[in-house]
Amino acid sequence: MIVKTLSSDHTIGWVVASFTTLAIVGLFLPNWVLNGTMFGLARGLAVLGLLLLWRTGLISFGHALYFGIGAYAVALLEKYTGVSDIFLRLAAALIAASVVGFILGFVLRNYRGIFFAMLSLAFSMVLYGVLIKSEALGSTDGFSVSQTTILGWQPETKYPLFLMIILIGALAAVGVHVYFRSALGHLTTAVRDNEIRVEYLGYSVARAIHLKYVFSAALTGTAGGLFAMALGQVDPDSMVNWTVSGELVFISVLSGPGSVAAPFIGAVAFEFLRTFAFELAPHAWQLIVGGTLLGIIFFLPRGLWSLMEHVLMRKERRRG
């Protein structure tokens, strides 16, 4: 029954097929594109975490907290135990972020709107304050992260890591998609629309939000871990500062809430937009990025994905 539903679902079909395509294309990509794509996809995974909350009407202005926890979990694991295995690294990132998300969830689940945004910001800045001033945690410099090994094997190229990232991205996308389709997932929208009704239908809004918050933290934490592995470096200003949270929110707005694939497309687009903007106009790339953000808010409130929807819809219509 479940298999049947899954196979009849187009989105899952695309995700699986396009990630397979990407895996093949990845073999022929030059290194810098592979790197950019890895950074983009890892950030996309973090944005997928934000999307989960956004569907409930919550925008976290402090998700760099989990991105940073994931990244630092990988770096600290190596520093203090020497472990560089990809599975252990991922587990560390996932568990660390989930545990923190679970604890903070008890508080944050009671907040909405701007207060949710601000309290998330406060929590992430607490971590930032700790990292910046603590020599044992690398202070402003952070740490280098050595190349990732896979069950004791040290790959020659970045391709295995790339494969891992797209695999995890695909799994997360399918997982989140199935979740959105489930009754529980629809509760997400229901909670955003009307909390009172959800309570009167007999479901705890606080629990629904808490659950989602932990999932979101786990996804973003994993993303941070993958990002650190792809980059080979962690530091507070590029992982935990409020500007990073802002960037993640920016990518979610750029992508739009329409589909689980949108964050990945948006994030990869952002990665290359930034690379080129930075090359062409090193003193004006923030201007380009900020202007894009304003443009999206004004003209494409449902993000880049709405362009995609538009194309798809027209095609359907022509066919039908």
Binding site: G13, W14, A17, N35, E135, S139, G142, S146, F276
Partner: protein, 437 residues
Amino acid sequence: MKKGMLHSGLLALALSAFTGASMVAHSAFADDTFKVAVVSFLTGPAAGPFGEPGRHGAELVIDAINEGTMPAPYDSVGFGGVSIEAMFVDESGGNAKQVAEYRNLIEKQGVDAVLGYISSGSCMAIAPVAEELQTLTVMSVCGTPRLFEGNNWQYTFRTQAHAVADSVAAALYIRDQLGDVKDYTGINQNYAWGQDSWKFFDIAMQKLIPGSSGSDSPQFPKIFAGQYGTEISTLLLEDADLVHSSFWDGDIEAFVLQASVRGFFDKKRFISVAGASAVDNLGKRFPEGTVVGTRGEYGILVREQEGELNEWFINAYRERYGVYPLESSYQYAQTVLALKAAMDKAAAESGDTPNKEQIIAAMKGLEFQSLAGNVSLTLGDGHQAVHPIGYGVTAWDDETDGPKLVDIRIYPTHCLLPPVNQMSEEWLEAAMPGADC
């Protein structure tokens, strides 16, 4: 499923749409140029005092060598027969961004070597990536000794002595020139450079001036914090007469401005190990009587020093940029000269345009003449430079209506740095055996 495949194509296309265009745009470079990226702070608080002068220093010397207009021994045209095409890259934005940018430089822009880096944080972050990508990377300014201590990099070099040297030189200068110093404290930035600098200075003081004692609570504000009112108060409240600081970039300038209004420099003796740029940038606002050093024979320290290369550099620099070259101008120029020396040597040995391995082999253990003194790469298995370091006291020169350093003392290499194969901290703790200055 057919439809699924179709859409997947669309999606993959969207994801790699950016690929095609950019791959066409960046094709291979001609054989007779050697592409070099020069990284320094082009924006942010460190751009004015360090990044821009550094960039100018590199630019000036690269152009002169490409044209063959430099004095001997660098008067041959080009680097081992090839000319260098330089691109200048911004160092600001944090370590993670630097690492990403570095990968871009190698894998996208196809540069052959990367020069520069000012912040110790950048250097520590870049070295492992340089190793991974097997790219010749020559550091110019950064000062943390950890770069080569405990690491065995093959592709990374540093044409510049590290923080141990200027800390020891500072302590030597204090012993020799300031006489009876008992207590001292410090204000340093809260990252590798600031923490190391204070630590080494503290140990060196203990060993060189027995009976002196460092503060229990030196200040470590965040880099680029900008406002130091509270920190200045705490320093003023401490009993110590001497204040050590490894502030550089905009922080030293802000600190000096804020502190001098509060009479800080009348009450305390201040020693700045990396703030020489501020002496020029602040002019009359920089207090006289401050002990200032440059990590090497650079900038204001050697402004009056004779020598063909030095005089050429000062004049050419002033002509082109309208100001005196600063410490970082010398440091970046020095890196370019090291590259020139290594590439010439490699070309002479191979009789042809040298390849990467040959250049690296030639640079290992290289000894070369810099603008105002000699440098040799002896530490870190031939990757880490050593050279003399000097300090002086600031004064105003009415003749030139500019700042100058007086009571200059330059200490020789063997007094400043551990011998090969000894870790800096061990050497310091062992009271610097072999340093007979």
